[in-house]
Symmetry: C2
Subunit: 484 residues, 2 copies
């Protein structure tokens, strides 16, 4: 809060969405580019947002029986290489440590792009019997994947995430775990981030390297593009075979456990920005907003008595602040009220409360909602008491708006021509019957620039309708969209 708000106008979304996004991330001081290509500095405001997202998700991860732990950053090349598909998928993105101090290493060490390989190496020693299962663990760490084209939060070489890893006695348990964690992610998106999402299964080409299948949730950004906001993988016995993890089952026979992994990353901050933000800045979901209520006292010139009455009210709001109702009074000197309004607007604070002379004389305060700019006045006590409700209401409005957009920008198509047509005006979520063969997926990609099959939807089935590409009877409805 030390510097005056930079009042350079944001490029409007409608003019250049990409430019709007990067300007917003930097002007709202969420993050900035670091001197290492493709890496970012997450600034205090962005990191506080991440801390609130973390707290919500970590609570769910623990409530579902998982424990946090920490595995090393560096993975010997030989460990990475044991699962063939996995290493093939990740090798092109790996940052390699080859020197320690002034010495060349005998074996290269990979900075973890993800931790299945090191975790399997350790658990091969720790799992012996069905009594050791399930293993339900998670870690909050940094990972590194060399990226050529990067964008703050959305695609950076280094990013922060949680990666959950579990081992189970039976395939059924692993399958249930995959769903349980995808459900947690859906809840995080919907109830904390006000993001409606479409859950489904990835096609083979988008499946995690080494997985049996990958489940994901797809959110719609306000430009109609999709963003994958969380993934949950069923790894079957692929890794436990490759890393020779065995346990004695209840029949005293040796068996490989069934495994899952699942993750959500700082990418989800990009989703929050792009789904909700507008030309004036961020619109943060109240439950994870670092500041939920910005109180702006408007000095009454030389009227000292009035100024002290205003300050008294500001203090009452400040005293009402707590972990679940985060209130900030903006007392910065030498900044005009209009600039302060713009400052908190840019930062997406859900509620602004203005304390002006006329209001105070009338015993009220003015509340402005960030989500739709609506304003109302309320008695001071009533307002303080109503803050939790006002924040809940702000969440509901934000979610409703995102849902309305998702509905308005979704459509059903049955032929490739219809698919092209659907994208003529603007990017959409197009739903189409789909047979799930790679050749048909390729034809879809060729039909419209930059679209991909995001998921086979959970909520709708093909019911034998003709595949959009080959007309064969289809089991699936594919969600087709452009994606970040």
């Amino acid at each position: 809060m030390a510097s005056p708000a930079r009042l350079a106008r944001l490029t409007p979304k409608s003019v250049d969405f990409d430019k709007w996004y990067i300007e917003l991330v930097r002007q709202a001081e969420l993050a900035d580019y670091a001197p290492v290509k493709g890496c970012m500095v997450i600034r205090p405001y962005g990191y506080a947002l991440w801390e609130h997202i973390q707290a919500a998700l970590d609570g769910m991860i623990k409530a579902t029986g998982h424990e946090n732990m920490y595995f090393p950053l560096l993975i010997p090349e030989s460990y990475l290489a044991k699962e063939a598909e996995h290493v093939e998928g990740f090798a092109p993105e790996v940052a390699w440590v080859t020197q320690g101090g002034s010495k060349d290493l005998e074996e290269r060490l990979a900075i973890r792009p993800t931790s299945e390989t090191i975790i399997c190496s350790m658990y091969a020693d720790w799992i012996h019997s069905y009594r050791d299962l399930p293993v339900l663990i998670n870690q909050w760490v940094n990972v590194y994947r060399w990226e050529k084209r990067t964008r703050l939060f959305l695609r950076t070489s280094e990013f922060l995430w949680q990666e959950g890893h579990t081992f189970h006695e039976t395939e059924k348990e692993a399958t249930e775990e995959v769903e349980r964690m995808l459900d947690c992610y859906t809840t995080l998106a919907r109830d904390w981030l006000a993001l409606p999402v479409v859950p489904g299964t990835k096609t083979r080409s988008e499946t995690f390297a080494g997985a049996v299948y990958t489940r994901s949730i797809e959110a719609m950004m306000s430009d109609g593009w999709a963003l994958q906001a969380g993934t949950s993988h069923n790894l079957g016995q692929h890794f436990t075979r490759a890393y020779n993890i065995t346990f004695r089952n209840r029949e005293n026979a040796e068996e490989h456990p069934f495994q899952t992994s699942w993750g959500v990353s700082t990418r989800i901050i990009g989703a929050v920005i792009m789904a909700h933000g507008d030309d004036n800045g961020l619109i943060l979901p109240p439950k994870v907003a670092p500041v939920q209520v910005a109180v702006v006292p408007i000095p009454a010139g030389g009227d000292e008595e009035m100024n002290s009455r205003i300050e008294e009210i500001a203090k009452r709001f400040e005293e009402a602040s707590g972990p679940t109702c985060r209130i900030r009074v903006d007392r910065r000197d030498g900044i005009r009220p209009g600039e302060k309004f713009a400052h908190w607007e840019l930062r997406g604070v859900p509620l602004r409360i203005t304390l002006g002379k006329r209001d105070v004389e009338a015993g009220v305060v003015t509340i402005t909602r960030r989500v739709d700019g609506t304003t109302e006045t309320m008695g001071i006590d009533a307002c303080i008491a109503a803050l939790p409700e006002l924040l809940e209401d702000a969440h509901t409005r934000l979610q409703a708006r995102a849902l309305a957009l998702l509905e308005a920008r979704s459509c059903d198509v049955t032929t490739l021509d219809e698919l092209s047509e659907a994208f003529v005006k603007e990017p959409v979520f197009a739903n189409a019957p789909f047979c799930n063969r790679p050749a048909c997926e390729d034809r879809i990609k060729e039909q419209v620039h930059a679209v991909t099959v995001r998921v086979l939807r959970d909520d709708r089935k093909g019911d034998g309708a003709p595949c959009i590409a080959c007309q064969a009877p289809s089991d699936h409805i594919a969600l087709i969209a452009r994606a970040y």
Copy 2:
């Protein structure tokens, strides 16, 4: 809790302290060695301990006005090299990334050994005016320093820590900040970890590479060795000059800000283990213990009515569990009560509550304190109500014991011969008048195997007494000890 407790006896501390330590860390499932030399896996029990330490310290860091953020893991070699002393100090320990995917990099990237250099590079762009100061930030991250000889928690190539970094308008403010954060560390040690510590200033040879001076807190382990449990550095303008960070001061002149940095790492877990543990295992400080109360129901054979009464009481304890009173009921099948006692003893749980048939008939439970093995019985309701107090009392007893050890194993010496004598029987904290010249520091090191000057004590002054090595009048009392 899936596997039965491993009941292999620990090597007694008195027989082989090092062996006792490593066996304890592994058997209590705090951590284990990873396949990368010098790296560790922090297991769920150890990580939960770290999470509680983090929560306590993070609360203090935020309460003193700091905000968390995140800087990149990788630092270009040219950035690292700008502060001459700093790069000289850290270069031998750096892990270098030289390849990305299949390509050789043009410039080597260091995995951060600490982040002053990258942080200065960024803030050179962000600090312009005195209005931008102070900058008060912190990050919780992994760092890497290539180590030849490693020990779990105490010295590992990768470790977790928080690193605070601040920039100030004046030297005075920076000096105050250094003290403020050292005080936070003292509070963390004393009030959360039950560790009495000796605060002081490092000699030149132990000062952080690039700092004006380094402050630290030294804790006594139960073998009489010292462990540096937290450091706070005054960096003056060394880095801000080297990285050309300037601001317009209140007189509108250009100036370099004054800087501090300070850190506590997973090393402090090693201090907790070595200061408090005994031959039966860990003794965890109650405030950070992942499980504070272990409830062990003792099944009453075939007496089903009694078993359900016992279970009912167990449930009441479970219901009393919460974030500040963490209770675990041990219902594991097929494990004898004695094994369960040993399990929780090994893990250092402060209070054990046994629910046996006789107790239940008498309407009481038996409470056993881990710190001293003392036992008492108490009514069920009374016990549940008293838990917070019983935990507080366990903290007090643990702290008193650590303080008694520190006092018993400290001594004053005035000559090098007395110093030798003091270490004949066992390692101690020897206090001696000291002139703080490097030559005298070397003579002290030569006098007794493996001792170093840990700090110049804050609480005592030399008052002109003759230096232990050169007899010149001394301003300081040096704490001399062997150190981990």
